[in-house]
Amino acid sequence: MANKSREKFDNSVIEWIDSRLPLFTMMQKEYGVFPTPKNFNYFWNFGAIAMFMLVTMLLTGIFLAMNYTPHVDMAFDSVERIMRDVEYGWLIRYIHMNGASFFFIAVFIHIFRGLYYGSYKQPRELLWILGVVIFLLMMATAFMGYVLPWGQMSLWGAKVITNLFSAIPIVGDDIVTFLLGGFTVANPTLNRFFALHYLLPFVIFAVVFLHVWALHVTGSNNPLGIDVKSSKDTIPFNPYYTIKDSFGLLLFIAIYAIFIFYAPNYLGHPDNYIPANPMQTPPHIVPEWYFLPFYAILRSITFDFNIYILASLGLFALSISPLYCENIAKKINCLASIVFAIAGGALFVLGYLSQIDAENGGKIISLPFHDFAIIDAKLGGVLAMFGAIAMLFLLPWLDTHPVRSATFRPWFKIAVLILVVDFVFLGVVGGKPAEGIWPMAGLIATGIYYIFFLVICPFLSKYEKAKPLPESIHQAVLDKSGK
């Protein structure tokens, strides 16, 4: 079908292949003349940078696997052998190790770009969801990769994370045993993590293909967030964006190289250079930096969900329900919403304080049934953490404001920047020991995270008045250069 409209290539070898399998025609269409909005800023580099990082991780990983031994008695030593004896082994390992961090840096910026410029909105919802799937797969892959060197952090990180699944009621412990292939993190676990760590990047690659495919159906979003209206709004991908992407990529690689050559262990933990010891927990278990915000959310739930806490969540739900449903909005007015929210807040504080020990050993306040945990703290933490990612999946239906770009939404712009600060702060909390004010700080930051998605997004969708949008991308570019 594509062959009919195909243009002939001058080179006879290319023409021979293309007439049988139109690969070159496809590349020409999707990456050569592909019409791309002409107003991209440098935030639009990070998709290509993430792709580069994925390929880097795949290549270095394959070469590391040639020298790695997935056995508890040999894994640590085989990594040390890569560092000391294998020719350029140190380089390949440092590229891979820091590559994980830089892959996440690129992806975090890429996700922020999507958030700020509304790239998740109609018609790009599925494109966004595929992106969140990639993010989840990346987290699973990175986690299992970190276990492979079999240092102290590898072992204890694996214990803590696999134990999360034991929070599932009734079948939790059996699931953990199934995942580990034993009763504790041991050789069968290391073996299967290696197999899966090798497999998942190829799964990521396949989902990236779908992500890019979906992108090429809808076309790219742009900093103005308005649709492409005519060919005046676009330029061909090549050479304009191949060059812009290459420039950004080179800068990114330069910073990446500084870490590889001058601070290769800066982003890691020294404890992982101590061989794994199942009898000795390191004094302070911390995941890799890119997991810290989610780790903080996990740890922020230090209390059981007793009837008071659950009732308070019910009241919060009632207070925001008018934002979601017009029929409810007719019955619950603004004042009622505020009353529900305040009552919910008060109940929450009561339910929380009823579980806090005072200095003398008793509870601060005593309420009937306060220790009847419907959802215990552990399951609550796990639900909060996975819920934080579920918010990203739901975002296209939480923020339904017709204007995409935060540039024209003064309130959304502030909210999304607060979310970024909150997320970074959660990262800081996740890196601190769970003592003193940090659990409380984590709880508040977790609350703000959820409020952004569940309250602010639907609220602004309903009430925010956007600034006037430019007529077209072309016009906006002309106006900007004219001043």
């Binding site: 803590v160 995942l179 009763f183 041991a186 299967r192 199942p278 927990t281 278990i285 703290a377």
Partner: protein, 184 residues
């Protein structure tokens, strides 16, 4: 294909139900086949026979001094054995049971008051709590303190503060002699 069948059997009334039945049976058998192929692969991920092989250990208690604790390895996990002082036993037994998260009396958790034997695995997320060595933090209740997420256990290994939902579990054990136990 449907057209061919229809024309060949034009004298027989078309029976949608019969055809549906064939489709559903085929799909059903296909699903059974897929599950039976998947099962060996799923099952291969469960603990293997060597992992499952029950192991038990015997521990000689004579070298343990009053107030001292030792850690033994059992089924790949640490077991805490602590010889409690009179004061520690008193601390464990004077607690108001109703104030506990996981309500258990100290008597339910020990066979001999002096010897407390529990798994050395935090019930939160599986870290090994600190407190076996005198130099380590023992938390607010004199037992153990889990450094991962700040769970405090008392001198009976019961959860008193922090995120862990349960007390440190007591493994199956028995005294073979007065100074020797068998775990498992």
């Amino acid at each position: 294909m449907t057209d061919t069948i229809k024309s060949n059997n034009s004298d027989i009334p078309e029976s949608e139900q019969r055809r549906d039945f064939l489709y559903l049976t085929t799909a059903g058998m296909g699903a059974v086949a897929a599950c039976s192929v998947a099962w060996p692969f799923v099952k291969s991920m469960t603990p293997a026979a060597d992992v499952l092989a029950v192991s038990s250990i015997e521990v000689d208690l004579t070298p343990i001094k009053m107030g001292q604790g030792i850690t033994e390895m059992w089924r790949g996990q640490p077991v805490f054995i602590r010889r409690r002082t009179a004061k520690e036993i008193e601390m464990a037994r004077s607690v108001d049971i109703s104030s506990l998260r996981d309500k258990q009396t100290d008597e339910e958790r020990v066979q001999k008051a002096e010897w407390l034997i529990t798994m050395g695995v935090c019930t939160h997320l599986g870290c090994v709590p600190l407190g076996q060595k005198p130099t380590e933090a023992r938390g607010d209740f004199g037992g153990w303190f889990c450094p991962c997420h700040g769970s405090h256990y008392d001198t009976s290994g019961r959860i008193r503060k922090g995120p862990a939902p349960k007390n440190l579990p007591v493994p199956e054990y028995k005294f073979i002699t007065d100074t020797k136990i068998k775990i498992g």
